[in-house]
Amino acid sequence: MTQSTVQSIEELTQTALRELALLDNSDALEQWRVRYLGRRGDLTSILRGLSQLDIEQRREVGALGNRAKSTLEEELEKRGQEISQARLAQVADLERIDVTLPGRPVATGRLHPTTQVVREITDAFVAMGFSIVEGPEVEWDHYNFEMLNIPQGHPARDMWNTLWVDYVNEEGQRPMLLRTHTSPMQARVMESAQPPVRVIVPGKCYRYEATDATHEWHFYQVEGLAVDEGITFADLKGTLFEFARRLFGSERKVRFRCDYFPFVEPGVDMSIDCFSCQGSDSSCRICRGSGWIEIMGAGMVHPQVLAGVGYDTEKYTGFAFGLGPERIAMLKYGIDDIRHFYSNDLRFLRQF
């Protein structure tokens, strides 16, 4: 009994190992495991029969059986790894796909380039403590011109060709218009708040103007205004310099030159050095060879404007500036024609 049991264990082990060597997939391995090592498997049955042996034999054969069991388990494990490694070695060939086939289309939506650039501009100023406010697109002459030191009949009105709303008031005047700039919010904001004021005003503007590659009758503007005790032209320079560096790179240089807007005095125009050619290319498309690119108009708020909203002009000073997001976008992205912005051609919009 002992002898035959020992022998059958050894034979079983040999048979099992021979079979195991021939197996090549995990299903077959599982069947093999069930057959030899499972609860009703061959080796298990033999070991279960040990209970009929006496204790000495039982120990001896039991030890043999356990060794056989662990041998089989180890070999199973080893074979399992071999098979999985062999399969992995082949997986490239077995499961190859054509990765050059197009992916499954997913719908994407983008923001209009103007929206993106307005956001960039306002973010830069918000980081410097400016708050965003917005104003009406249809305005009174009073806010668009009068309060900005541009009275009726002032020759400077020619700087803003105006689209007037067909509305005549009781005095027979036509006082309603499409705002020609976002500057009317200067007066509106100051009328409703005492200093300190630090706001930025993005929005649409309108001009009676023929369109060409650089002119649109409908466009955006971002206006800025800071008024408090002790605000100086030096602060204006610093604020706009910081803005230029945020939008166009930290190595940017800025330049100010004298310019005229009736609601500021002194008035300036800010240019940045050409980020494309750094002034080295006399045929540069961006700066036209000058090395400088005009970015915006600015200046110290005219005392007439401050007085108009009831501020003490001896005590308070401030600066204002205004810039065109389309122009900034054109510079940043190399867009050659402003008319692309509002014709809504998908081929244009999808590039941003």
């Binding site: 086939l101 289309p105 719908a107 994407t108 939506g109 923001l111 209009h112 929206t115 410097m128 708050s131 965003i132 406010v133 009406p136 697109e137 249809v138 305005e139 009949g153 020759p155 700087m159 689209l163 709303v165 067909d166 509305y167 499409l178 708040a193 200093p195 630090r198 649409k204 009676y208 103007e209 023929a210 009758w217 409908h218 800071a226 005790e229 002790g230 100086t232 032209f233 030096a234 602060d235 320079k237 610093g238 604020t239 310099f241 330049r255 100010f256 030159r257 004298c258 310019d259 005229y260 002194p266 110290m300 005219h302 000073t317 014709s343 809504n344 051609d345 998908l346 081929r347 999808r350």
Partner: protein, 804 residues
């Protein structure tokens, strides 16, 4: 303004290269747009025609012997009709690069045989030299032109094209620019000296001048030149005007233009013999009066128009344009010369009324100082006599309402200068700046300077103007660069700005492309989208630029459909557009109500053609899915209520839903009305559109947005339920009944079916229903009991039965 450098050099030394000068002017606020060089004429010089003979082989050509200055004589073939012996001309030797009028490009001149005769050079026309368009004849130089002088030295010039801002009236004149250059370079400026003999009888006996309306004409000066002869101006005068962009006309008129360009003061010359009773009256026009102006147009005048009249009729529009009835002509011998100051506001209104923005009105409207009038009058009187001869009457008329008060002084304190600029400037530096600008400067104390600006600077009125003068002359680079150091003011955040940004981001994130279109549309566009059923007439623009853009839009729909139709022209889609903008709703005697709306239009195939995707057209439910997701990003779960057809005339009456949150309508979604799709000739159907009203979103009660719900740790159980309901029961209603039970965590509709195996008039709705409690694990029993209860409610409320 075109300013020739050669003219500027009459008044100020310029030793800077032209481009450097242009840069300095630009930085100081007088922008130079372009610098044009006249010249570059190598191998060209001043020559003299010694002899003109007929060409042996051609009637239209002449053989000329030309002296190029070295006493050699060259034989030149010339076809110009105006060539004559003795003339000083522009001679081009072989090797010169000139514009060839036949090939229409610049070429090097070669010795050529013309009809059998060798021409050793060329006598040039304006066109060949690039001086102008004239090619009818050769350029004839003035008699004093030095033979042999290189043409570049004699005719070469540089033209500065100035873009003058409206405040810098002074820079509309050559002398004004010279003063500016003097200030920038430290060079002295010479103003032409005026000296002439008044040999005629007193002006008062020859002509009468009076001003009836001094409020519109504060100063009127006049002189009289008699016995002069009208003719062409001398060449130098014609050249100067031409280079400054004015067309020479005749000697007297040319002088008035010349002095206007020189001193800025517009002048007018009347033929005194055409002035009735030799009487000039400056007055408002009478009602019903008319005047034919120099441009040949008969103009009806009104009583706000200032005219220069003779004893009976107007002979000119004051400060704008002269009248045809007193125009200088070839036979004129007596000229009454006017140099006056007109009210700028009235002048501008007159120019506006007649749409006559002349060189004169553009100066007067900006406010010329009265001191200038007599200065310019004398200068022009002298020049007229120089170029047209005649005798100058003794004395001038000078009718000046104001007295000779000194110009108002403006005071600058160093304290204010520092308050504005943020830097210290010494009193010496400030004084030096003002002196360089030729301001009459007085130091009141060590921190205060008072100035009287000269007559050409009418833009200096307040202390800040002086501060600008200081900073633009010392240079903006010298001002320090500092960051704002005042406290950041608190401002109530603007919720709409934030909401608009979030709505845009949400709509883009569900695959919609943002567009921005013109807020002005045409009535036809609005009619095409049936937008008038509920809204009053939109606001109209009084002076639209085109008929297509003349009304402020009360809806975004027309624009979006326009965008769709435009893109269908060159794109296969899919088309998923939205726009976030304002619509304008008129209010009587107020600014319109500007309401923020987000709207979209969606059509085409669900995705771009793909080997993977089974494609169908984008429809109502695609867009409802997009909106559901987009609104969920904003924390909103609206209910979708069938919208009555009459409420939305632009939408398909059976396929439109109102979006309702907490009882507020926040938007609408629907298929475009088929008749509108027809009108826009749209390629793909269906077209789905939506609108979201942002102002209404802002009024939603607090708490209807995002609210955190704790994550339950107990498992959910789910049951599939197929319900049979009458066809007219909205699925949303069934879903709502399921949803509202407190143990129901989520309901998903996964199948809708009608047809075989169902009674006619019935449909089947199949749901996954998820049950969950935040307090415990639900037992199967509890779940089943809850479901049974729900089924009873469904049976009662909508007649639902379980499908077998």
């Amino acid at each position: 303004m075109q300013i020739p450098l050669s003219w500027l050099r009459e008044y100020v030394d310029i030793d800077l290269p032209a481009h450097e000068l242009a840069h300095r002017l630009t930085m100081a606020g007088v922008e130079v747009g372009e610098v044009t060089e006249l010249g570059g004429w190598e191998n060209c010089c001043v020559g003299q025609v010694m002899e003109v003979n007929p060409h042996p082989n051609a009637d239209s050509l002449r053989l000329c012997r030309v002296n190029p200055g070295d006493d050699s004589e060259m034989e030149v073939v010339c076809g110009a009709p105006n060539v004559a012996a003795g003339q000083k001309i522009c001679f081009a030797r072989v090797g010169a690069r000139l514009y060839n009028t036949h090939s229409e490009r610049h070429e090097t001149l070669k010795a050529a045989r013309i009809r059998g005769v060798v021409s050793e050079g060329m006598i040039c026309s304006e066109l060949e030299l690039g001086l102008g368009d004239g090619h009818e004849g050769i350029v004839v130089l003035s008699d004093d032109a030095p033979i042999g002088m290189a043409l570049d030295d004699y005719l070469g010039d540089t033209i500065l094209d100035l873009e003058v801002t409206p405040n810098r009236l002074d820079c509309f004149s050559v002398l004004g620019v010279a003063h500016e250059i003097g200030a920038l370079t430290g060079k002295p400026v010479w103003v032409p000296e005026v000296r002439y003999q008044e040999d005629g009888p007193p002006i008062t006996g020859q002509a009468t001048v009076s001003v009836a309306d001094p409020d519109l004409c504060p100063r009127y000066t006049a002189s009289l030149i008699q016995g002069l002869k009208i003719g062409p101006s001398p060449q130098w005068l014609q050249d100067r005007l031409a280079r400054a962009g004015l067309r020479p006309i005749s000697n007297v008129v040319d002088v008035t233009n010349y002095v206007m360009l020189e001193f800025n003061q517009p002048l007018h010359a009347f033929d005194l013999d055409k002035v009735r009773d030799k009487t000039i009256i400056v007055r408002r026009a009478a009602a019903g009066e008319a005047l034919e102006t120099l441009d040949g147009v008969e103009r009806e005048l009104n009583t706000e128009v200032l005219v220069i009249a003779d004893s009976r009729d107007p002979v000119g529009l004051g400060g704008v344009i002269g009248g045809a009835n007193s125009e200088i002509g070839p036979s004129t011998t007596s000229v009454l010369l006017e140099s006056a100051t007109f009210n700028s506001y009235n002048n501008r209104r007159t120019a506006d009324t007649f749409r006559l923005h002349t060189d004169a009105s553009q100066r007067f409207e900006k406010g010329l100082r009265p001191e200038l009038a007599p200065i310019a009058l004398r200068r022009a009187t002298q020049l007229i006599q120089e170029v047209a001869g005649g005798v100058i009457a003794q004395g001038i008329y000078d009718i000046y309402a104001g007295s000779d008060e000194p110009a108002p002084r403006v005071t600058l304190t160093l304290r204010r200068l520092k308050q504005i600029l943020g830097m210290d400037v010494s009193v010496d530096q400030v004084e030096a700046v003002f002196q360089s600008l030729e301001f009459d400067t007085e130091r009141l104390d060590e921190t205060t300077v008072s100035v009287a600006p000269p007559y050409w600077r009418s833009d200096i009125n307040i202390e800040e103007d002086l501060i600008e003068e200081v900073v633009r002359i010392i240079g903006y680079d010298n001002v320090p660069t500092t960051m704002l150091s005042t406290p950041i003011p608190y401002r109530q955040p603007a919720p709409m700005t934030e909401l608009k940004a979030r709505v845009r981001a949400a709509l883009a994130s569900v695959g919609l492309q943002e567009t921005i279109s013109y807020p002005l549309v045409s009535l036809e566009d609005l009619e095409r989208v049936n937008c008038f059923a509920e809204r009053s007439a939109p606001l109209r623009v009084a002076n639209p630029m085109s008929a297509g853009h003349d009304h402020l839009r009360p809806t975004l729909l027309a624009s979006l459909l326009g965008t769709l139709s435009y893109n269908e022209g060159h794109n296969e889609g899919p088309f998923r557009f939205f726009e976030q903008a304002r619509v304008f709703l008129p209010r009587p005697n107020q600014l319109p109500d500007e309401r923020e709306v987000a709207a979209g239009v969606i059509s085409g195939l669900r995705s771009e053609p793909s080997w993977l995707v089974d494609n169908g057209p984008l429809d109502f439910f695609d867009v409802k899915g997009m909106l559901t997701s987009a609104l969920a990003l904003l924390g909103l779960t609206p209910s979708w209520e069938p919208a009555p057809g009459e409420e939305n005339p632009a939408l398909h009456p059976g396929r439109a839903a109102n979006l309702v949150c907490s009882g507020h309508k926040i938007g609408v979604l629907g298929e475009l009305h088929p008749s509108i799709a027809e009108r826009f000739d749209l390629r793909y159907r269906p077209v789905t559109v939506f609108e979201i009203y942002l102002d209404d979103l802002l009024t939603l009660p607090v708490g209807s947005g995002r609210n955190f719900r704790s994550l339950t740790r107990f498992p959910s159980a789910h049951r599939d339920v197929a319900l049979v309901v009458p066809e007219d029961v909205p699925a949303g209603k069934v879903q709502d009944i399921l949803d509202r039970h407190r143990l129901v965590e989520k309901v998903e509709l996964f199948d809708v079916y009608a047809g075989e195996n169902l009674q006619p008039g019935m449909k089947s709705l199949a749901f996954h229903v998820y049950f969950q409690s935040s307090e415990r694990t639900l037992t199967a029993d509890e779940v089943n009991r809850t479901l049974d209860g729900l089924l009873r409610v469904l049976q009662r409320e909508v007649g639902a039965t379980l499908r077998d």
